[in-house]
């Protein structure tokens, strides 16, 4: 590629791996550039009944081939042969921000699509959860460029990737109660067969699926690490058929459906039941959020520390999309299950700790984007949060408000005064005088320096105050 850097500026930085297909964004549209091979594969997919079915079911992102050809970056080696336009995903998320159930649903979506593709004479060339996004609580497969014609006799090229990025992370959490998110955040390639084998106990080795997908897989991988072997050719000559991939996929579907994460009762899963709020205060708080959402009419809302999602749901009545974030994976998992059962398409639950937010990752630090880069919220809710950020997380009050000023339009923030029992409990764990900036007057001064306060309301006998404020540019 010899393009000037400027012409490549709209390219989606995470889409460089497949040489036949490259995503770029332009004026809010999501377009995909295709090579000649990519275009031929797309046309086969587009003319199949499977494509219409998957799009109709909401499992595959709606896509059209464009006739217009001007002004597209020449980002495909050998030339751009065709351009597709995809429906826009409201907010991009990554597997290390998903809960167990979300990764499981994404895995089942991937396997289901692969199985049906095989039945239609096609195959998916890769198997990564980065090809799945969520619209609200509904997973959707976004990589139309992943479909290609099936070549009979060849095994499934994406099997290893599926294990490393879907199966092993799910096993880790279901069998060891170890959260997979830090592992996927630590390596974009996931967990290798040898690594998961080393993590499993003797007892785990007798569980369904371990022998083939983990133990033998790790052994074969080690065996062929150094050895030259034309596996594809040998398998083909030994009579490998696509029905064997289908059988493997069905086995994986069964295995993954049976996995269960038995999360214990965490601090937060019971939080909704034992807040310090009186019913009257809770109602006034809900009304404050309602009025704020109604007056700001936001396109995108972030609810940081969403817990059960009560206020996310209120905001969703007035917003196009809500990203509901919580640091507790169990809370997010529970919210996701509820939203999924309601067929929600507006609220996206994510496992995010705002004090340690998902960073930019991957090649050149831009393959996976930093949270604020994926869409600036018009309204951010920070309800019963600041004591966790500033006392629990040691982020100075002024710095937290500054971060909010930069990253949001409007803000609904609840000040939890040091006298409040919840704040008091956190302060009591620290040495005396450890948080000199955690004071009501200082908070109000920092807020007023960075935001125009539109209104405020005192709750809980003065121990908590709600503010609606608009960021100063």
């Amino acid at each position: 590629m010899t393009d000037a850097a400027g012409t490549l500026s709209g390219l989606e930085p995470g889409s460089f791996r497949d040489p036949d297909s490259r995503v770029f964004t332009s004026d809010g549209r999501v377009l995909r550039l295709l090579s000649e091979q990519g275009l031929a594969d797309w046309r086969q997919l587009a003319s199949s009944p499977l494509f219409q079915e998957l799009v109709g079911e909401g499992r595959l992102v709606a896509t059209e081939e464009l006739v217009e050809r001007a002004a597209f970056p020449d980002a495909i080696h050998g030339g751009v042969a065709g351009v597709l336009e995809h429906d826009v995903i409201p907010f991009v998320s990554y597997p290390y921000e998903w809960s167990f159930e979300m990764l499981r649903d994404a895995a089942l979506l991937q396997l289901g699509i692969l199985r049906r593709a095989l039945e239609s004479g096609m195959v998916l060339k890769d198997s990564t959860p980065y090809n799945v996004q969520f619209r609200g609580a509904a997973p959707v497969f976004i990589d139309v460029g992943s479909f290609e014609p099936l070549r009979e006799g060849e095994p499934w090229a994406g099997y290893r990737q599926f294990c490393m990025l879907f199966l092993y992370p799910l096993l880790l959490q279901a069998w060891k109660d170890v959260p997979f998110q830090p592992w996927l955040r630590g390596s974009l390639n996931g967990i290798t067969p040898q690594e998961i084998r080393n993590l499993l106990s003797l007892r785990d080795r007798f569980r369904r699926g371990t022998l083939t997908h983990v133990v033998l897989h790790a052994r074969l991988e080690q065996r062929y690490e150094e050895k030259e072997a034309d596996a594809k050719d040998e398998l083909k000559k030994a009579g490998f058929k696509h029905e064997l991939i289908v059988a493997n996929v069905k086995g994986l579907e069964k295995l993954i459906r049976r996995l269960e994460w038995k999360q214990g009762s965490t601090v937060w899963t019971d939080y909704g039941l034992e807040t310090t709020y009186s019913a009257d205060d809770a109602e006034r708080k809900a009304r404050f959020v309602t009025h704020a959402a109604a007056s700001e009419l936001p396109h995108l809302v972030w609810d940081i520390g969403c817990n059960e999602g009560v206020h996310s749901r209120i905001a969703a009545d007035y917003a196009d999309h809500v990203v509901a974030m919580d640091a507790d994976a169990a809370v997010v998992d529970r919210l996701y299950r509820k939203l999924r059962d309601e067929n929600d398409r507006k609220i996206l639950p994510l496992n995010v700790n705002i004090v340690d937010p998902p960073p930019a990752l991957g090649w050149s630090g831009s393959e996976r984007q930093h949270l604020p880069k994926r869409g600036r919220p018009d309204l951010t809710l920070c309800l019963a949060l600041i004591h966790h950020v500033s006392i629990g997380g040691n982020v100075p009050v002024a710095e937290f408000l500054e971060w909010l000023r930069v990253n949001t339009g409007s803000l609904v923030i609840e000040w939890v005064a040091p006298e409040d029992p919840m704040a008091h409990r956190l302060l009591a764990r620290k040495g005396p005088g450890e948080h000199p900036d955690y004071r009501t007057d200082w908070f109000e001064r920092c807020l007023a320096e960075r935001f125009d306060v539109v209104r405020s309301e005192v709750l809980a006998e003065g121990k908590r105050t709600l503010y609606l404020a608009r960021s100063k540019a």
Binding site: W156, L220, A238, A247
Partner: protein
Amino acid sequence: MANLFGYIDPGSGSLFLQALAGGVAAVGVFLKVYWRRLKRFLHIGKPEDESSESSPS
């Protein structure tokens, strides 16, 4: 070779494993891989034309 894999490295071990993870019929394929290797090692059977079996893509 006409039919190369895509842009990801599928891993030789992971490919052979699929001749175990696809049920009884698959295990047959796995055994046949070794049977063919054994025959090749013992120089049994007729020599093959290596390029004749690649399918059009």
